[in-house]
Subunit: 429 residues, 2 copies
């Protein structure tokens, strides 16, 4: 039996995501507990075969192939579902919620098909149902829609929420390759599954926009009600002509609230190259939410992968644990030293005005060398023949701020120097 | 005396933001209450002069110039502070929190200078302290750091969190104007205050990065500990040369967690033009958070203004009200009609292959005209002399999907038509 002061957790599924979630409990148990005033304990993990060999080891009795061992364990308060697929996950979640156990799920298919019913079941029993991981990987989007943006009437959502297709479209746009070549590249790099159907035909994006639209408009929208076109018919000529017209081509998931109803659709679209959505590249996702108060807000990040998904799941788990324990976060403040600016290491851009005479470049280069600062680029600009001055623009490789400031003081004393116009730092991408 | 089932709210300050928050209570009281099982009632508003004439009218006794009337009202559970400035706001908030009243504040100066102490006071008394509106206007960033991203070790934050300076820098970059011209434009359009000192010298951004860094690294970082350079020394040549080198210039607020401490700084920096931060234009803000699990996440939106700030304040207010009432959201689901795709109105891109002969353009244009579809651009591409075919790329003004599909069916029957290569929708910016 569990100690009274523990929060018991059940886990359904031990695939790639489940394994990472379970590992998080082992590797970061202290950090997890630091956010609460009592420990979170993984009590049961539902697997197909409890006796199969595994890289992670669990205490005796944790692994089980019997769902009822999770459902009926009175010391399990929160269940994390990462089995995937519609059945039996949907049925399991309904049983758990009806029994008052809170659920954290990454299951977009279940949420897109049964979300409103499950949310109602949770409301009735007082359990919580959280599903941040079902859309956009670790990028917070469900939380903001349910909480931070709640004051707004949301009028539209436009999203790039399938990393596989966005990777393929980025390759087609940038490399000029056709769909099948880009798909093969994506598969080779792990951005597309061996069977990519659900991604390239738009189904996965339709699941996700059904979830977002249901939340944003507080009305039940099922995936089957989302108009859906995939990206398989796009040809390299379409990208060429779209670029000429000033557009990129993206697979958009769009939901709009109008006076007479709700529109929900997934299809490739030309988006103006200056829009934020056009700038979402490779496996990244972005969700643009338009609220009547806040205007357009964009959430951008990696939309898939075990680590981002675990970030969302553990975030949800902590939120449920905190609110069911009715805790305010009581993590003690650490006292970290604030580093001196002199210790910064970064790249620099320096613009100086100098007397236009031979040997100037050498003098300045020597000062940099004496201070262990390596020059990356040097350009001479704007010779003013009348005044006999020239401007130099120098960028450096990473150097210490202290060294750069010392060099700058010495350069200021050089007889050939007329003015230090600007010293700026260069931030890596 | 308040009815037992009400949640009483106090408001400190009735300037532009306070006025909009108060108006929200009047104009959207039903929506507000729909998120809770009991009404939120504005019981007291602290103003300098309770008898001054105002456009908003309040019930007798709500306006007061006595802070103690708010502090000592046992029926006020949550206080919204929008007075601004360090004093007396910091003292008021401490007194309220010590008394167990939850606080929602938009005050970046107070949070940057006294945030950790106020948070500790809240933890001790069991009150809540929320301050989403203090950074990034209505863009959710405090909430995600405190909740959604909690599973991560945050290693860096890089942000454009001052809309005034970003507007000025965008003007300097795009129009080639100098600092003072760009500042005057910003003032004329309301993006800069008559006294812009706190914005252009970086102080405002330093407040905000101190708040974000304290939360992300859970260590107290005061604004005075943030290294700070403003934008006043930038010249148009710097933008010119930065562009030649492949960079934009942005005022960045940066906080990093390293093995031996924390770095916090605000200064203009060259950022690679392909980075997300380089693409943040005009009055927009963006915060990039790097977490070890989630990778880079970017939050982008309008960083200031009464409506976005009200969005953040009301969002925080609802969160406090929900959790202090220990409610799960019980808002009933609406049942909105899902609109048919045929009713969509959008722009289109059509690519067709046709026989290269005279009159083809006219035939196709006539079909569009007959269906009330107005052509925006028409380009003839890739004449294949051997096959005698040409490709046409047509974009339209907004038209109904049903009309477009009808037109497409008719075009498919034209003897000159060889193939419909693709029909795509064009999304407005």
């Amino acid at each position: 039996m569990a100690a009274k002061n523990e929060i018991g957790v059940g886990l359904l599924g031990l695939g790639v995501i489940g394994g990472q979630v379970a590992a998080h409990f082992v590797q970061r148990s202290e950090t997890l507990s630091s956010h609460l005033d009592r420990p979170l304990v993984l009590r049961r993990v539902l697997v197909r075969d409890a006796d199969a060999p595994r890289s992670l080891s669990f205490p005796e009795g944790v692994l089980t192939n019997d769902f009822n061992a999770v459902l009926n364990d009175p010391d399990i308060h929160i269940v994390v579902e990462v089995m995937g697929g519609e059945n039996p996950a949907a049925d399991y979640l309904m049983q758990l919620l009806q029994k008052g156990k809170s659920v954290v799920t990454a299951n977009k298919e279940v949420m897109a098909k049964h979300g409103p019913l499950l949310m109602e079941a949770a409301d009735r029993s007082g359990a919580q149902l959280r599903f941040e991981a079902s859309v956009g990987g670790g990028v917070p989007i469900i939380g903001p829609l349910q909480n931070d943006l709640l004051a707004n009437d949301i009028t539209s959502i436009r999203a790039i929420i399938n990393g596989t297709t966005n990777y393929i479209l980025t390759q087609m746009a940038q490399e000029g390759v056709g769909f099948s070549v880009a798909l093969a590249q994506a598969q080779k790099l792990g951005y597309a599954e061996p069977d990519p159907t659900n991604d390239v035909d738009g189904t996965d994006a339709a699941y996700k926009i059904a979830i977002l639209a249901s939340l944003a408009f507080h009305t039940a929208i099922a995936q089957q009600q989302v108009y859906c076109e995939g990206i398989t018919t796009l040809q390299s000529e379409d990208f060429e002509f779209a670029h000429e017209l000033g557009y990129e081509i993206k697979l958009l998931a769009i939901a709009k609230r109008t006076e007479d109803g709700v529109q929900a659709r997934v299809h490739p679209a030309l988006v103006h190259k200056e829009s934020m959505l056009a700038k979402v590249e490779g496996p990244f996702n972005a969700v643009e939410v338009y609220g009547d108060l806040v205007g357009p807000v964009v959430f951008h990040g990696l939309g898939a992968g075990p680590a981002p998904t675990t970030s969302a799941i553990i975030g949800d788990l902590l939120a449920v644990a905190r609110s069911s324990a009715n805790l305010s976060p009581a993590r003690p403040w650490s006292v970290l030293p604030i580093k001196a600016m002199a210790d910064l290491e970064t790249q620099y851009y320096l613009r100086v005005s100098v007397t236009d005479q031979s040997g100037v470049l050498g003098q300045i280069a020597r000062v940099f060398g004496d201070n262990n600062i390596s020059i990356a680029t040097l350009t001479q600009k704007d010779v003013d023949n009348h005044l006999g001055t020239a401007q130099l623009v120098i960028t450096t490789h990473p150097a210490r701020e202290a060294a750069m400031q010392t060099a700058l003081q010495i350069i200021k004393q050089l007889p050939v120097l007329q003015e230090v116009n600007n010293l700026l730092r260069v931030e890596p991408i």
